[in-house]
Every structure is written in structure tokens, then in C-alpha cells.
Amino acid sequence: MKKKLVSMVATAMLLLPLLGHAAPIKIGFINSITGKEAQIGENLTNGAAMAIEELKAKGIQVELIKEDDGGDPKNALAAYEKLVTRDGVIGVVGPYTSGSANVVASRADQYQVPLLVPAAAKEDITMKGYKNVFRLNAPANVYSSVLMSAVAAYKPKTIAYVYAATDFGVSTVKTAQENAAKMGLKEVANEKYQQGQPDYRPSLAKVKAANPDLIFLVSYDADAILLMRQAKEIGLTPKAFLGAGAGYTTAQFAQQTEISNLVVSATQWTDDVNWPGAADFARRYQAKYSKEPSYHAACAYEAMKIMVVTASKSKTPTQLRAGLKAGSWNGILGPVKFADYSGFTNQNNHPMLVQQIINGKYETVYPAQFSKKKLIYPFTR
């Protein structure tokens, strides 16, 4: 008798949450929590967590199911399949890396569960015409095009490329070369380097001899600092250093004021942009995690908000897809609309920002309508 009572009470307790209120909407979140990309993954985790917290405070019932892909496309795909088949989520946010996002995107139409990619840059992801794949951030080609349009007014004539021999480096430079050709820039040097080497001086000396107006750089974390140190050492002074994301947009790089001053870089988001709530988001993030939010955090925050708000008005993945396709938003990432244009499907035509490091701080300098400061050109030591 006693046993029976206990089991009845236990069953009742298990069922209680279901009786209390309507079942919360289930959303999946695939991210690189471990592995090589874990440092950036943490930013995404924090941004998404802030969004969920705010939405819950507003009374939206949401259950977030988090999956870790460790930066590996195989795990990302397994995570997506688990989320849609076992957990029954109606929408998925993620994955972070281009490799993972690209693989998961290729299966989204098969399972018919919408995928919202917050921060992966590879163009292909939204170029294959997948109906269930949406992307919030600007794709890779915008990195170089926005940087070049920022300096176009100053009429530079020549350009040199210095970049890491990785997928990201090679593909970013390829689109940069196309954009440079459109602007009529002449390529005077092209230096691809192996990462992690202690000495880049010979390559930089060659670039110096070519005397380019612009130097376009693609490097990861610490390589960026090493390259710029050695560039200063050998006295490399172009009219502008253009850093395409990654190593040139970290706080660690900016802090090296001696070498980072006046370096120009492209980013998806800054905290001094005049999009609604951006500054406030940065302040709250800083207070909560005691560090500055990266653009990844802002992208994850906005993606999670858009996904949950739209999902709360839909019952099925099909309704959610229609909601994402039809909706438009205006938040910390500026105006968002998933549109079909120049080969892209469900791609938010996100205006990227150009920032310049001035005395150790990133300042938004382009496009003019989003920025308070003006680009300093030419570069001086």
C-alpha cells in the first residue's frame, strides 16, 4: 500500500509541470562548447543565454536544448538529427563554425525543421536554395567588400595580400581579389604564410618593397600580433592595414596599442553602433559576464530572440518557416529580413561595419549612417 502511494505521488509529481501550464516551445541550439572554437563558442553561449533569460522574464515559455559539436561537422549533424527526431524541437539555432553549419544546412530540407545560422560566414550555406536554412550574419564576401568600400573614397591604387594558408584565409582573399578588381586596384604582392611560424619578416620585406597603398590581412589570434609587430620592425607603412576579422578584431589585439593603432577591420557588430539596444546589450553583457561582448555574442543573442519569438507564434516547423520568411525585425543587429537576392536564399542582407582601432579601442567608422567617428586615412606610425 505504502509503495503504491509513493509511486502515485511520484507519478503525480512528474505530471505536475505538464498540468500547470501549456507545454513550452522547444528550440535546439548547436554550438562549439568544446574543441578549438570553444573560446568563441562561449560568446555564443552567453549571448543565447541572455536572450532566453529575457524572453522568459517576458513570460514566453521556452525550453532550450543545447548540443555541443566540438567544432566537428559530423557531431553537428548528429546533434541536429537528435534534436529534430528525438527531442522534437521545432527550430534550431546554430551551429557556429562554417564547416558545421554547411553540413547541417544540407540536411535541413530533408527534416523540414528550420535552421537559423547566427554567425557562420561561408557563402555556400545560403546559396544552395535550401528552404529551411536562414542566416542572420553577412556572408564572407562582405568582409572584403565593406573594407574596400570604406577606403574607396581615398582612391588607393595598389593592394597587397598577406594571409594564413587556411580555408578561411584563401577563400577570403579570393573574394577580396574579385572586389579589388572591380575597384580597379592593382595587386602588387601576394604572400600566403604557414601559421605559427616565428619569422614572417622575409614575406613582409617583399611586401614593403612593392610599396602597396593597401595591405589586406587575414590571420588568426596571435599571428595577427606577431605579423603587425614584425611589420612595425621592418618599417612597413601602407596607407591602410585592412584586417579581415578574426585576429584583428580581438580585445587582445587592440590592447597592443603600439602596433594596433589605426588598423581597420570588418565586423558584424560593434557596441557603439546606433542600432536599437546595441549599447544597452553591451552594458548588460559586461555586467553579467565581466567582459566585452564579441559580435558572435550579439549575433547569437539576436538569432535566439528572433527564433523564439517567431516560434512562440507557431505550432509546427512549417508555420515557423513561414514566420521567419515573412517577418522582419529591428534589434541590436539592425534591421533583419530574410530575403532572396543575388544567388542567396533566406539571407539577411546584413550591413557589415568597419571599425578602426584608436588608442586601443574599436571605433565604428563606416558606413556613415551607423557610425559616430570618421576613418583616419592614411595610416601613420
Binding site: 604557414q194 611560424q197 622575409p202 603587425m228 609587430r229 612595425k232 618599417g235
Partner: protein
């Protein structure tokens, strides 16, 4: 100008490679062990220099006075605790042990210091001496090179003049004969491993101001140190010194005249050529393995 610039910067970078190679070669010479933890010992040297600079505010080059004895002691203890147990065992056991020790070191560093690369920024980190014709020499690299030359000089003097040095030299020439002559070869092994560790840590500390500090940073240099040792002749201190400078210059020349993408290819073509034409290495004695 290109030629001179890349020659000079190659020689300076090669100096630090040489120091890493000499430590490895010394251990091999005396103990007949290939130390695959050598790169990780270098990494520990980098962190020692970093923390001496950030916590104790000691200049990274001055901190060598602390790092060298600490590293020597660390190496001495490691040898007494682990390495000496496998000294007469087959090579694969020795390789597995040193790889294992290296993995423990790099992963402990990963746990303790995280995977964020650390940057050691001194007031002279990105300064250079400029000469006529647009040639520039990095101040920290030049300092490292001068210190490397000094250390190699002292080491050479120690090996050829002091009693302990001569005993080390004898052990490296013939372990059994040295033992028969009354040399304590077990002690010599521990001293050699301590010296090798101290040299690795010194190389790490010397490169720290011009490189970045990361738990896996040693791996880049392990392969280089190994190449240098084989190129110069395993066990030959002079060979490792010359080998280091050769690798530095070849890398620099390859980046200047081909592409930085190709420099490893050129290094390994030369490496293979040396192995084919002179299997004992440039300064190795004929008949050694």
C-alpha cells in the same frame, strides 16, 4: 638588400633554433635517448619567462638567471624519477615515455593556463635597429642571438675544460668505457638531462618576447629541434649549432625567393639530401647510427 636582409634575419632566428637543437643533441649524445618532451620543456620555459615578467616584473632576458637553475633542477628530478628507469630499454619504450611526459606537460599547461595565447609585450618588443639600404634587425631577436652565443660559449668551455664536462664528453663517446674508468654514468645522465632541460627552457624564454606563448607552442619547435639534431649529426653539439643556423637561413631564403608557403618543403628536401648523402649528419662520426 633582400639577400642581406633575409640572411641576417635567418641567422638570428637560426640562433634560437640552434639552442633548442643543442639541448636535444646533448641528451641524445650522453644518454642515447630521443627526448620527445623537448618541445614541451621549451613551452614551460616560455611560461616561466611570461610569469616572471607579468608577476615579478623581471625582464624576460634577466629572468634567465632564475629560469636556468629552475629548469636544470626540474630536468635533473625528471631524469631521476622516470628517465633513468628506461635507459637500457628498447628505443620505443623511451620514445613512449618522453612523449607521455610531454603530453602531461602540455595538457597540464592547457588546464592551468587555458588555450588563450599569451603575448609578452616589452618596451622593445617591436623595435629594430635600422641600417643603410633599408636593412633592419629586430632588437629582441638580436639580444636573443647574443645571449645564445654566450650560452653556447659557456657550454663549450664547460664541456671541454671542467672535470664534469669532460666526464659528460667521455660518457657520450662510450658509455661502458666511461663507466670502467670510474665515471658515475648515472649521475652524468641526470646532469645531461638537466642541462638539456635548461637549454630547452632557455630557448623558450629567449623566443617568448618575439613569439606567442601557448600550451602547444612547443610542438612547432620539437620538429625543428629534431631536424636540426639529425642534420648536424645526432649527439654533436657543434653540429646542432650549425644545423640550427642552416635551418634558419634556409627558411628565410625560401620565404624570400619562393614563398613562405614553401619553406618547410625546402627545409625537408635539404634534410633528406643530407640523410641520403651523409647519413651520419654533417658533423656526426662515421659508423655511428
Amino acid at each position: 638588400m633582400f639577400f642581406l636582409q633575409s640572411l641576417l634575419s635567418g641567422i638570428l632566428t637560426g640562433g634560437v633554433y640552434a639552442l633548442a637543437g643543442i639541448g636535444m643533441s646533448l641528451v641524445f649524445g650522453v644518454m642515447n635517448i630521443s627526448n620527445f618532451a623537448h618541445g614541451d620543456l621549451m613551452m614551460l620555459g616560455m611560461y616561466l619567462a611570461y610569469f616572471a615578467f607579468t608577476l615579478l616584473h623581471i625582464d624576460p632576458y634577466l629572468s634567465l638567471l632564475l629560469i636556468i637553475p629552475t629548469a636544470f633542477l626540474f630536468g635533473f628530478i625528471i631524469e631521476k624519477l622516470f628517465i633513468h628507469r628506461i635507459i637500457n630499454h628498447p628505443h620505443q619504450n623511451q620514445i613512449l615515455l618522453t612523449i607521455g611526459l610531454g603530453l602531461i606537460m602540455s595538457n597540464s599547461a592547457l588546464l592551468a593556463f587555458t588555450s588563450d595565447p599569451k603575448i609578452l609585450t616589452t618596451t622593445y618588443s617591436s623595435s629594430a635597429f635600422h641600417f643603410f639600404g633599408g636593412i633592419s634587425l629586430s632588437v629582441p631577436l638580436l639580444l636573443s642571438f647574443v645571449i645564445t652565443c654566450g650560452i653556447i660559449g659557456v657550454l663549450f668551455f664547460f664541456l671541454s675544460k671542467s672535470t664534469t664536462g669532460l666526464a659528460l664528453w667521455a660518457t657520450s663517446q662510450n658509455r661502458e668505457a666511461a663507466q670502467l674508468m670510474g665515471i658515475n654514468v648515472a649521475k652524468m645522465s641526470a646532469i645531461a638531462f638537466g642541462l638539456g632541460t635548461a637549454l630547452a627552457a632557455t630557448a623558450g624564454a629567449l623566443i617568448a618576447p618575439t613569439y606567442y606563448i601557448h600550451p602547444m607552442a612547443g610542438h612547432t619547435f620539437l620538429l625543428k629541434a629534431f631536424t636540426i639534431c639529425v642534420l648536424g649529426g645526432l649527439g654533436s653539439v657543434i653540429g646542432a649549432g650549425v644545423g640550427g643556423v642552416i635551418i634558419g637561413v634556409v627558411e628565410s631564403m625560401a620565404s624570400t625567393y619562393l614563398s613562405s608557403d614553401w619553406k618547410d618543403v625546402v627545409v625537408f628536401i635539404i634534410f633528406l639530401a643530407v640523410l641520403l648523402l651523409r647519413p651520419q649528419g654533417l658533423f656526426g662520426k662515421k659508423g655511428e647510427q
